[in-house]
Symmetry: C2
Subunit: 140 residues, 2 copies
DNA sequence: ATTTTAATTTAGAATGCTTCTAATCCATTG
DNA sequence: CAATGGATTAGAAGCATTCTAAATTAAAAT
């Protein structure tokens, strides 16, 4: 049990090393929260609160820095669900989201939902970086 | 010519009245910029700059108030393209967008692009408000 | 081990967009 | 034309995020 934890920690450290970042205490702590267990959607604030509660010594600035770095190296994906704040998804595979407007919460679309046909050509001089689909939900 | 302008102004005033808002100098001025001519995508800042240049006496606060009110009454649609700022679309019909990441600029998808099949059911207790598709573009 | 080096973290300030406040203004009504 | 209640405003405040410059720390070199 304690054994499993140590192994997971090692994996997390390797994961950070693998993308060319130094495995600092802060990055390891945040990566454990993000990557051990199920896929998740977090905001900077949420992750900072969680880190504080679970004793990971980290400042809010570092949470922002780390999230951005993890996105840059492909460990996280930033999901653009609204203009108020950024969401980060530990599942970097191509998929889309529900956004619960009343709760500011993201949820994955059930697999197999939404297939996009007739994707348009990019205008001259541009290329498609990606296609985001957000299904906005309100309380019934 | 001056005649056409006057007619357009009257239409704009009626449009504002029709949704239950007082046709003040500011709202009429902003509505003329927004609704006379082709459909457009603006940010609060852009509209404020344009109003200032063209002699519409309005403060930035009122631009924000007015945009929000116009969205509330269905005269405008807010487009969620990224976390940095809000975009407002004078075309309130159901359609989707290109977003030029390098220029912070929206553009309508060509008509007929993107048909969404297999729209998922909303989770229990929620209902689908709308589906946003944003095709993000970078320079080639 | 110790020192060195360069990257990382940090608190706090700064930024950018948006909303709020409370005082003034003005479109409408009687 | 005066009264009234909504609209506008400047400026402050709020919030998410980034920046800055100083202190810390992981890794490399000795």
């Amino acid at each position: 049990m304690g054994n499993k934890m140590v192994i997971a920690d090692k994996n997390v450290e390797l994961k950070i090393r693998a993308v060319g970042l130094k495995p600092t205490r802060q990055r390891i702590g945040l990566a454990r929260l993000l990557f051990i267990g199920c896929a998740r959607h977090v905001t900077a604030d949420e992750l900072f609160a969680e880190a504080s509660e679970s004793g990971v010594p980290v400042s809010l600035a570092t949470v922002y820095n780390t999230l951005r770095q993890f996105v840059d190296v492909g460990l996280l994906r930033e999901v653009l669900a609204g203009p108020e704040r950024s969401y980060f998804d530990t599942d970097v595979s191509h998929h889309h989201h529900f956004f619960h407007v009343d709760e500011n919460r993201l949820e994955d679309l059930p697999p197999g939902s939404i297939s996009i046909d007739d994707l348009p050509n990019a205008p001259a001089g541009s290329k498609i970086e990606r296609v985001d689909v957000v299904v906005r939900l309100t309380r019934k």
